[in-house]
Symmetry: D2
Subunit: 345 residues, 4 copies
């Protein structure tokens, strides 16, 4: 069986493993106050053209999401998200557990628009900040989204501009960031992201590392005492250098991006294989997640050799997801596309 | 400079690194639902003679502490701890952040007694469970304690018996568990711990792993939906097998225990070197943490070559801590004891 | 100007004021442990035919809602509500502030159906209680709803039956309960409510009292330590007898119900006056809240003499709400209906 | 039986009852946005010489405490309090329930000193704001304290000055404020309190009102969105005018203060009666609460005719508390002192 069910079913890139082995006989300062983390911070600041940004390494994405959100919001403030947002659907109500409401906006292919955000903020502010409503204080988007789609530079900059108009933070979940940045047609860069977002992260877990996310905070307000928020939420790794070294290794030689680009290309090959068979797409994604609508016979046929995710039932079949990743080998794509070619109608 | 400042300044045991390398080309199911975790669970259940225990792997100790405590308690229940308990002093009020009061009891060398626990529970129950008080529902102790001391089997069993009498959970923080179990004079075993505690953990981070703690839950009530509590608190590692494989590797060949035993012996050599110079102990510890009281000249002399922790100021000097670990080499102990022998009076 | 904007713009019924005056020279035990509260508890248990029910008096409805919900739910459990539910729209995210997600279901005239509730529970349980989802553990409905509509006995009993099937609590917000019970066409009684709901309350604030709600808990699990939850949430009034005496007074002579019935009749007269002018109803309500759609000229004409609430803008005008209450005098209805009769088209 | 067990066993002053009756036929705007509240706000601002202060009316003291504290603190900030502070002992961990640690300082007769507060803040700031500690951000004191003692102007101003040096808020629990202000030897006034504290309240429940506390906020930061915090915590009374009118009535004719002064004098008569019998004081209080140490025979003798509170057991007997209040009649003091005079040795 070949796993295409997600992008975190394999360990780490060779460069990460080598760096890990190399660091093993050395002793380091704890809690991320070490030379390896400092090196990684410098690299990330440089890539983002954001020398003043705070960069923190956290073990996981759910932790990163609720730590940032709860650090940013007072108890009468809330966060805007697409109804399909990861924080709204996949994290066991971890945001509400920190005491904050998620203001859900209906998504279009996983995305929300500046116009929707404006309407949500206006309803609160034109209403005179009524005491019985929470204040929308942050906008959370994912890049790419849960559906694999991406925001354009224009879309991000418009959302950012609404955020600034209403004093809201823009927080970008980048668990799959390089897949988005390197997607065909993507027109946004790290320095632009750093300029438009108040906080965002470079995903590690799904992008070549064993685990870990690199959070970039550009908002001065959010920087304050952030590490105490991390500590309180169990997000300060004792052996912090393990996170720094992984990001250094992946960024050093650019494999962080080149592997994502390759994974996207493989994903598009999968999509095209389905399209060639006349299979309907659930959403057209340029990144490493592909969603197609198959019938029962097709699903069972593919399930003979491959593990994939069943997303939901729709009118004309089942939505299934195939993920590639930095670890996907070309031969597995060949095997899959060959199988798709033989798939029943 | 040689680091004796803590027991988490080095990567992982060779056996862990090898297992990690070996697993790298293989794909696994996510979130701890993989074969490596299942293997580690089986080993731990066997070692604990607790075939019904739930075993979960969490990335870090702070997370483990607040996840267990908040999963166990309703909002009007609280946890009893020594005033020096890790959860009360070193975790940025993470327990209070989940909504629960810590009922602090004064410690004796880091420990609390069954009698103190009984008095605390009685005050509540003899008072008729008054509505204006929180209900003490859990006792948290560390084995070994923050001061490196250990509870005897008799002490643990008495505390456990008070807990059961009053319907309180006993939760044992085992971030340094093997150092305690393998200490000279320690008379408690894993099966006994599993019998007397409702939940406890085998520390990984400080005991030979890169990171991770293995939580053992014997209370049926606490088992229920525990993984959802983990998920909500960001404590479910996407690549969960990374945790399972580390515990398997360390337990497989017994190095988890033998390395702790060696570290304890090294620690005692350090203590004896100080005692030989007439230096006063702050507390007499049989485990890998040693606390001595030095004067300014001594502190500065030692700081020339070694990194250690300053704990607090006392009447007759500064309390400093030296930690050994699974990674400490004998030559470093030789260097340190030689230096101590030359220390000014 | 005559206020029809809400049902809490006047003090209390004469019988309440008299009881208050009578109690003033007497000293009582605190925190609701007094004879007046005991008398009120007995009356309410008798009216509900629920001799085992726990009855508590809380100062306000928002407090009652979040105290019940947070007392009932563990941190990985959530509450189902209509998207228009009071807890979801009017209470400044007080439920999320206690750490719980509201699972919103789309409403039909303010109501949700047993079928919707079943689908929501099934999605969770058929999915195998996935760790990344919160567990739906309570259903919150209002009787009458925010739109003034009422559930039939059949509807409530079906929702209750789904709740019991899935181990969920049914909690009925009764801030306006007597208006619902005494509505034309209402077929539910207090004993039935006590049988089908695990907790519900008899509203005081909007129904004749100065302030206060009488919470009835029939679920044994919810009864446990409930007063500690109240205390923790500031919901134990020091001079608790003030709440007991108000409910006793209103229930003693049945004015609690007769006044609600009269208010409903007045409300229907208002509705009919609008209908006679061909004004469209937003929702057809049999209780003390009436919602009609008026144009700008009509709104401004009515606003000359009356205070009412603007609910929202719709295609063909503005939805405005007129509330009657236990305190509404017939002459004010005459004045209003006369004005409506003169209203521009 | 005569109740001396607390200062909230009677309804309200005549002036309050009259105002209540007078307001009953009138309709008002809700949620404290009415003319009666505005009048009370003006009176309080004038008495405090604080025209810019925000004044809010909340139903109860526990609510006021946790609403202010949780509104003021971020999740990594904590509140300093005497270990005997009301929030630490009598409110069912309501502060921790909002996610904040109480940093307990040992009390001296219920009070803490500026020096203790400084040491607590310094430990944090000299330590470099370590990430594993919460930030002390507020100091909570009671005036008078739980033991009936009072702070001098010099003490309050020193604590305030330390607070400002370290950027901490000073919050004064004034549930019994007039008893403190009017105590023999008290040298602090409302304008001084408004100058030195960032927030404090004029107690109503224990000082002549049926219920309610008048919160004065002078800190601009704390003023922001405070009413949303109140709403979220269920502390916005629907019929808010009921609170405004009570404070207006009590302050109008100065009875708020004169009744407290009389209660203090009565309390001192009780204390002197005990002193005349050679009974030891537990603490020497100039306010309406008196604490004496009696033996078993004395306690039982007094319990024949009076209800009082047993505070705790000490070496030489039981500490019992007698409370007077605005409602205490002189004849009851005569009866009590006569009984004390006959008390066994």
């Amino acid at each position: 069986m070949i796993r295409f069910n997600n992008d975190y079913n394999r360990g780490a890139m060779e460069c990460v493993m080598n760096a890990l082995t190399q660091s093993n006989p050395v002793s380091y300062a704890g809690y991320g106050e070490d030379t390896l983390c400092r090196g990684a911070v410098d690299k990330i600041r440089a890539l983002c053209a954001a020398p003043e940004a705070a960069v923190h390494f956290l073990p996981g994405a759910t932790q990163t999401n609720f730590t940032v959100i709860s650090a940013a919001l007072s108890s009468v403030q809330s966060v805007i998200s697409a109804d399909t947002g990861h924080i709204n659907c996949h994290e066991a109500a971890s945001i509400e557990n920190t005491g904050h409401k998620i203001l859900e906006l209906p998504n279009t292919d996983g995305k929300i628009s500046a116009e929707q955000v404006r309407a949500c903020a206006e309803a609160y502010y034109l209403g005179g900040e009524p005491e019985y409503l929470t204040e929308p204080k942050m906008v959370y988007i994912s890049f790419p989204t849960e559906q694999g789609t991406i925001y354009s530079l224009a879309e991000i900059s418009e959302i950012s501009s609404i955020c600034r108009q209403y004093g809201m933070y823009l927080f970008v979940d980048g668990a799959r960031l390089p897949y988005g940045l390197c997607a065909d047609g993507s027109d946004i860069t790290l320095p632009e992201l750093a300029r438009y977002a108040d906080a965002f992260y470079l995903g590690g877990t799904k992008c070549g590392a064993l685990f870990g996310e690199a959070l970039v905070i550009t908002s001065n307000y959010l920087k304050r005492r952030f590490k105490a928020h991390m500590k309180q939420n169990g997000a300060v790794l004792a052996k912090g250098w393990l996170l720094g070294l992984q990001f250094s290794a992946m960024l050093e030689n650019g494999e962080y991006f080149s592997a994502a680009k390759r994974a996207n290309e493989f994903a598009v090959r999968i999509r095209e294989a389905f399209e060639n068979r006349g299979v309907e797409l659930w959403v057209k994604s340029p990144t490493n997640q592909q969603f197609v609508i198959v019938n029962r016979a097709q699903k069972e046929f593919l399930a003979q050799d491959f593990i994939f995710e069943e997303v939901c039932e729709v009118q004309n079949g089942t939505v299934i997801r195939f993920c590639t990743s930095w670890a996907t080998g070309e031969s597995k794509i060949d095997t899959l596309t060959a199988k798709i070619a033989e798939m029943p109608v």
